[in-house]
């Protein structure tokens, strides 16, 4: 549907506009505004002018206060009414309006609605309908004026009635634009955009993760397999060669080179994506990472379930970087990794008994570590007084899967 506002509807060809539901919805929109405001206004008037209510000085401030307090209610009703004209609008999930400024704006709008706007609404509707209605009434009353004149008046009324659709719809459009500008939950739209951004970032993380796995698989199936096969072939060739011969020495050297290349490739592949993480989850992967650290690392990671892949990967690499930092900078002899899921918050703590003084600004891996964790909405906390010990704490929320797949 290309037509989204009352004004756009008016700009259409008259036939399409008049055949559409826009004039009727506009009329309903205005009437829905007039009716309650009129009731309130008349009620207030009656209260103030009633003989028993000579106490206008007492009643008036009360009424004023009530009007001001009714802001949220009026606002909510206005938003509901707005959906007559903008069916695509989000259903109004009620929630307290945030911010004093916005509350004041809503209250003010409510007062203006009850005091003035409904009168304009009424005037527009009345004036638009007055001419055709008056003509019709006159025609019906003046039965003696002759059939010709009566028919002419009725015909004129029938012609004017469609014309009334234009001012009604135009004013309804203006009125709804005003209401929307003041009342629409702007924060709602922002929230939606934030969710969307979060999703798209999660998709990106997913895409990276998929890509890493693909690269890991390709390296494993391709280069790694060929290199292993090559070392086997070289190993077999060496058996056939006379020990100490020139050829045997050459093959030996080639064999060693191939083995070094294989070892380097293995480390590279592990850095791209650790297989044990996919197969056995975070506790096992952390155990193995701890086992590879040159510093002795005690691990105690107990999780009730597997975590979403994106979180597992981020947490795993965070631990790896923290352990690498321990090995490189801390001069520690002992370290420990502890991990728990606390109310859907993954908490990982890496401690060491080193010299402390770790500084994120100092070009250590801490910034990269924080970046990794931030990608999955987590955060990094650091305590590292000079003299140690150092504690790196990583917190990652796991309430909902960050990944979509």
């Amino acid at each position: 549907m290309g037509i989204r506002t009352a004004w756009q509807a008016i700009a259409q060809s008259p036939r399409r506009f008049l055949a559409s539901s826009w004039p009727w919805r506009s009329l309903a929109y205005l009437l829905a505004g007039i009716a309650p405001s009129a009731v309130v206004a008349i009620g207030v008037l009656a209260l103030v002018t009633a003989p028993a209510g000579r106490a206008a000085p007492v009643v008036l401030p009360l009424v004023a206060v009530a009007l001001l307090l009714s802001g949220p209610v009026v606002a909510r009703y206005e938003r509901w009414r707005l959906r007559l004209l903008e069916p695509g609008l989000e259903p109004d999930r009620w929630r307290p309006t945030r911010g004093a400024g916005r509350r004041a704006l809503e209250a003010g709008y409510g007062v203006v609605c009850v005091v003035a706007l409904w009168l304009i609404d009424l005037a527009v509707v009345a004036l638009s309908l007055l001419l055709p209605a008056g003509l019709t009434l006159t025609a019906l009353r003046s039965a003696d004026a002759g059939g010709g004149a009566q028919a002419a008046m009725l015909a004129a009324a029938a012609l004017l009635l469609p014309l009334a659709a234009y001012p009604v719809t135009a004013w309804a459009g203006a009125r709804s634009a005003l209401a929307r500008a003041i009342l629409a939950h702007r924060e709602l739209e922002l929230d939606e955009r934030l969710v969307e951004v979060t999703h798209s970032r999660a998709r990106l993380v997913d895409a990276f993760e998929l890509e890493r796995r693909r690269i890991e698989r390709d390296l494993h199936d391709g280069a790694q397999q060929r290199l292993v096969a090559l070392t086997v072939a070289l190993g077999l060739a060496r058996i056939d060669l006379a020990p100490g011969s020139e050829a045997a020495t050459q093959v030996d050297a080639a064999h060693e080179q191939a083995k070094v290349a294989l070892a380097e490739l293995r480390e590279l592949i592990r850095g791209v994506h650790p297989q044990v993480l996919t197969d056995r989850g975070l506790p096992a992967a952390v155990d193995d990472a701890a086992g590879r650290s040159p510093v002795r690392v005690a691990t105690d990671v107990v999780l009730p379930r597997r975590l979403p892949p994106g979180i597992e990967v981020a947490a795993y690499f965070a631990v790896c970087e923290a352990l690498a930092n321990v090995a490189k900078h801390s001069r520690a002899t002992r370290a420990s990794v502890r991990g728990r899921l606390v109310d859907d918050l993954l908490v990982l703590e890496v401690r060491d008994d080193g010299v402390g003084g770790a500084d994120p600004a100092g070009g250590s891996g801490l910034i990269g570590l924080a970046d990794r964790v931030a990608v999955v909405d987590g955060r990094l906390l650091l305590s590292s007084p000079p003299g140690g010990p150092t504690l790196v704490r990583v917190e990652i929320p796991c309430g909902q899967p960050v990944t979509s797949g």
């Binding site: 790694q224 292993v228 096969a229 086997v232 190993g235 293995r266 592990r270 096992a284 193995d288 701890a290």
Partner: protein
């Protein structure tokens, strides 16, 4: 008539190139590859059909390219307690080694091995590992043992550097004689070190090599 040391082997490796290379290697050392397969279901079927002496399998295989080979090996160890299994992996992780050592009915007597895939390039050593596992031995990759030794464990610090070396080789599954050759010392010296290690770690003295390896590994993993 089968020559001494001749083994009937089922080989599972999804990479065609490497499968060919490994088959060639095993043949060169006098064994028969009765079946060379490329995925886990075929491995299980081949074991049923051929009743081999030993299975040599890659961890990662189709269809999932996860740990199908390892899982198949674990299942085979459970259903065929006398089947020797040697698992090759592109990374060695203590996690997988632990699963493999724990598999099978309590105190499974068949040999078990877990080696980094890279080790096959050292063809003679690899062939020897195959033979040791087929003979009921335990072969654990040095990298796994290194990881195990690195774990925090105070009694290990009471060992001398030499004793730690011997302990590592013991955990890898080597016999006294092999340890003596590796360290270029006498077998008697190795026996003395081993007695010292077992005493310091409160492990019972064991004459049987295989049982001793298991005891040491169980200790390191505890």
């Amino acid at each position: 008539m089968r020559p001494a040391g001749h083994l009937r082997i089922v080989l599972a490796e999804d990479g065609v190139l490497l499968r060919e290379g490994l088959s060639e290697l095993l043949r060169r050392f006098g064994h028969t590859v009765v079946a060379a397969v490329g995925d886990a279901p075929a491995l299980t079927a081949a074991v049923e059909a051929e009743a081999p002496d030993i299975v040599v399998t890659d961890v990662r295989m189709p269809p999932g390219f996860s740990d199908e080979g390892l899982r198949a090996a674990l299942a085979l160890r459970a259903t065929h307690p006398s089947l020797a299994v040697l698992v090759l992996s592109q990374y060695v992780e203590q996690t997988y080694a632990a699963e493999l050592l724990d598999a099978g009915p309590g105190g499974a007597t068949a040999g078990v091995g877990y080696l980094l895939k890279d080790r096959v390039g050292d063809v003679a050593e690899f062939a020897e590992a195959v033979s040791r596992v087929a003979a009921g031995g335990t072969v654990i990759d040095p990298e796994v043992v290194r990881q195990l030794l690195r774990r925090r464990r105070d009694p290990l610090e009471r060992l001398t550097p030499r004793e730690r070396e011997v302990l590592a080789l013991m955990a890898e599954g080597w016999s006294n004689g092999a340890i003596a050759r590796t360290l270029v010392v006498t077998e008697a010296a190795v026996a003395k070190h081993i007695n010292g290690i077992l005493a310091k770690l409160d492990l019972p003295p064991a004459t049987d090599d295989h049982r001793r390896v298991r005891a040491v590994l169980a200790y390191l993993r505890a």
